[in-house]
Assembly symmetry: D2
Homo-oligomer: 130 residues x 4
């Protein structure tokens, strides 16, 4: 399942090269992760109820074409891997037909209090489409 999430580039996202600053795509990714869960009637807040936190343990981005001020971008998000105690989101950001960036984030599944790894609970697995 792919969830699409729209982002509008603001001035504050650009840098003096006139393009979106490289770190800010990770902000767009994060907004898209939240949208992914909302799309299924959920939010990161539910995670807490389920005794789960999903800290990022790895992130990656390839920059293919620059995005600019006022661009309307589409972030396409998928969960591509669900392991015992980790999962992986993949993202592609497009403007029309143009591929802007692609990237991923890997998340550990941990107990919120102790930060120790735990198995992904079945409710979350179901939610993420596995």
């Amino acid at each position: 399942m792919t969830v699409r999430h729209e982002v509008r580039v603001i001035f504050g996202d650009t840098d003096q090269m006139g393009i979106v600053y490289y770190a800010n795509y990770y902000r767009y990714f994060e907004g898209a992760r939240a949208a992914y869960l909302r799309e299924q009637g959920r939010s990161y807040k539910d995670m807490h109820e389920w005794g789960v936190a999903l800290p990022v343990v790895e992130s990656h981005c390839k920059y293919l074409s620059p995005a600019r001020y006022e661009d309307e971008l589409l972030v396409h998000t998928e969960v591509t891997q669900i392991r015992g105690a980790s999962l992986r989101f993949e993202y592609r950001i497009t403007r029309g037909e143009t591929l802007i960036v692609e990237g991923y984030s890997v998340h550990a599944c941990v107990y919120p209090d102790t930060g120790r790894p735990r198995r992904i609970p079945p409710e979350l697995k179901a939610l993420l489409g596995d």
Copy 2:
């Protein structure tokens, strides 16, 4: 005329107090300024064609109630003052009935090349509803 612009709070906008970091409301204000112009079929890009830049010369914000992760905020934007070579935007951000912040920004009207002050051109004045 008041233009309403929606913002969804992301994780990256919050700080360790669990609320939106005070500087980030100015990012929301800026997104709302752009929305204000778009609403009238314009963008900051047009400014350039008109030989106008609108640098911020002053900004202000009062924090009345904290906004939190995943909040859906509404930024209400108005132009409240158009002088010879400056103008003022006012903003109120609400979540439902709750007033979160209110603020303003004052902008000089300048020539983009030299940065020297110039009168607001009539097209822009008309656009801003004066």
Copy 3:
């Protein structure tokens, strides 16, 4: 008492105008507030021990001259007002002889748990030079 705090402008602080984005000066102000307390052998973490939180209730900035990539800025910070349950920091940012911005922030003094206003404790007052 004025505390001086150095900031180096990074690429990510600039926007497509080639200058520091207006909201980012508030980040510099905040870094300078922390430096102010450190200068006296304290940190915001101590506030917590004293049963105090100092949320920002108002912020303001005047932009006088643009700062650019790689600029070495100096933030000059003072506490200019200590009331019963609020205080005010004032900031000037300079690059050499040039005044870049000046601004202030007003903070409420509250109980961290309830968020209700409380008198500034004497230890904090002493610290802030009153």
Copy 4:
């Protein structure tokens, strides 16, 4: 050659988990890249004179241990690969003995005007220690 660059975590860098937001490490990386060049008496501004721009084409980070407010971090930066028209910076961020994150960025070497790839000029190669 490894260049060390100090960063102090500000409030605005943290998120509601009470730790540094994952995207912000890329800001620290960028500040460290600039420091790397400064260490050799250069700056990104010189690049322009040499007819070179170094846009990021890939970035990556592994999060090993969280950093928190007021932490004094050390970013250790190295150039680990110089190819015909690209180069790679590697970063490790530590707090005392603790490894916080490690990551890298890959940069294309291009003509600033056209954005087309070009060979890394010898002056730059020498600078980067090859």
